[in-house]
Amino acid sequence: MGLKIVVLAKQVPDTRNVGKDAMKADGTVNRAALAAIFNPEDLNALEQALRLKDKYEGSTVSILTMGPGRAAEIIRESLYRGADDGFLLTDRAFAGSDTLATSYALSCAIKNFSKVDVIICGRQAIDGDTAQVGPQVAEKIGWPQITYAEEILECTSQKIVVKRRLEKGIEIVEGKLPMLVTVNSSAPECRPRNAKLVMKFKHAKTISEKQAGDQDYIDLVDERPYLNINEWSVNEIQADANWLGLKGSPTKVKEIENVVFQAKESKRLSPDDFDIESLMRELIANHTIG
């Protein structure tokens, strides 16, 4: 008996390569200057899902993401790696959502799936770094959750066994399905795109992309149902618009401070045992480590 797995993923600005123009004058992220990528820990989550699919015959992996139209790209990226289908939650009403409104929207969307055994998502996204969305989704749908997962060791109808990576060690925990799991970056990296899957799914489109005039191989998309990426708006997930977008987001950004690293805070060490040892002593003494 296969598992029905849903992976929550997010398209994020690539904050790992931040240049001078990364922030706008008003303190918000200049999304135009940063490449949009698959949130790295969501890729770790996808890999865990695909491993379950490989291990338990008949399992399926669906990707659920919320974002603007271009977020369809990460759904295609997931299909290229072995996901079965994808759902893009997109609507103007979602714009400006904080973690509370986002998790509300995602939890409404989850209810659209007939039966889900496991939800897997990355621990946190590299744009906000809150690590709130996964746990909040679990709360809203009334599911238990296991956070900081490094590996899902077992997942059957009886139980799910997960190895957690914590600050000071590892922990192996068990739970019952259904379960929401958030995955750390210490989990195995996601597999590469598969050549045949890329060729199979490269023409996959959302209805908005079709309407926006992307007519390439449109006959093929009409002919092959798997090339249609599902798109859901507020109406399709039966959500209350008051809980969405800016209206549903209590988080307000008061101020953004630009932290500049000062050279005087740095210290030069020679690459020898003496310097390394004294640094270690210093770090232990001031409780940075140990």
């Binding site: 598969n194 045949k196 899957l197 490269k202």
Partner: protein, 570 residues
Amino acid sequence: MANFYTDNPGLKFQLSHPLMKKIVTLKENNFADKDTYDYAPRDFEDAIDSYDKVMEIIGEIAGDVIAPNAEDVDHEGPHVENSRIIYAKGTQENHDALVKAGVYGISLPREFGGLNFCMVPYLMSADIVCRADAGFGNIWGLQDCAETIHEFASKEIKDEFLPRVVNEGATCSMDLTEPDAGSDLQAVMLKATYNEKDGWWYLNGVKRFITNGDAEIKLVLARSEEGTSDGRGLSYFVVDNPKDASLKVRRIENKMGIKGSPTAELVFTNVKAKLVGQRRLGLIKYVMSLMNGARLGIGGQSVGISEAAYREALAYAKDRVQFGKAIIEFPAVYEMLSLMKAKLDASRALLYETTRFVDVYKAYDLVAEKRPLDKDEKEDQKTYNKLADGFTPLLKLMSSEYANQNTYDSIQVHGGSGFMKDYACERLYRDARITSIYEGTSQLQVVAAIRHVTTGAYLAQMRAYLSEKVTPELEGLRTRLSAMADLYEKRITKVVDKKDNEYIDFHARRMVEMAGYIIMGCLLVSDATRNDEFVKSAEVFVNYAEAEVTKNASFIKSLNHKNIGLYKQL
């Protein structure tokens, strides 16, 4: 987060060559697979887009997995444990990543699970992978053996072995050389005996210098005809490596370079084998075909190494400050770098031109399996076959020599630091050294190429290139190349007219190289016509080629043919 395909626009440029349409249309048999396989292309643009996307996957694995592993693989190397080869950790990781990406079997037909790509993207993958790690490039490149099985073996053998290459990532080896049979493969002694009772062939003997010797699937050249002593007594066999005492790895060589690629000595004791194709055609047909593919592969490997060497040198020269400025600002350094780049671009131009020729004639073979070719098609196939025969040894010769020169210069740019193990150029230098030796030394490439000098085939192709349209700013270069072609013609006429084979052999390398310089110059001018990015390399290369052609011409002119005895050493 490196991608060795997308960071190198010269690669995608090759996918846009005008001849690609003809190649892809033939190879895809007018896109007949499009309704049978969900990953088959609908049309030409769709096919090129698929090539592009799959090269991007390989580029990412090369940049993110293979290149970062290269140094450790070079230090660790493979080892032998209980007569079996264990790869270095990184080698195994590289291989597993490519298997997961589903790119093994890149050129095999879809009915065996392959991607059915033509040779251009296949060689491009070698170019990309070898830039990351030339040694690993051999393990990747040995899937050529699957191509040989596909071309010559029975359906039963194809069905048994080919899907394993694709699905399990079964690696291959071609077991040709023996202690007393290196360049001269006619001397192969490993014995193949047919057993009437069980219908198997049994192999007994020793093979040496076998790349990836403990591969799952082995193609073995063996003497099937008792009492024979030349190439006509040899047949080709496929072995499903039993991984037991019957096929032992006696040792692996401690090599100068490409250390990640295991080179083994093997002992066969009653190893079960199946015959590929017909008896007696092992060397004279099948190995010759495999060898041409392998030489093309070394071309790809050489270009990949040149690319890596150039990039390392460029980055260092920009970074290193001496006498108050970056060393790239000194003429002695920037000239060296621009010549490295020109040799790199010229090698790459020749690599893909040769590959396109191979592609056309091989694609016709595939068409011929489905329907008889008409007269024009047969004629066309013959033309491209001849061009491929002429260009393959030229490519192997020139690109491998340039890989050596570029890695030498890369170390030179690094100065004393380049002599240390801390910089990648040191490994590249060692890795490059084999390229002008294996799959036929440079001297043997000259032997294969000289015929195309004496018959005028190279000259005809030069003239054909020189009659193509170029942009006005490239007219000057074309005129100079044309004068070089005239000089080349004059000198070969002088040599050939003497009707003395030893004299021709004596000057063979000089003449073949002259042809190489001129043809590569023509190809760069052609690339520059389609893309401004190549104008600089075209100019630099033609300057260099002109000097080299003149040098060789001068030597041929001034040496009296009766005086070649002077060069004989006792």
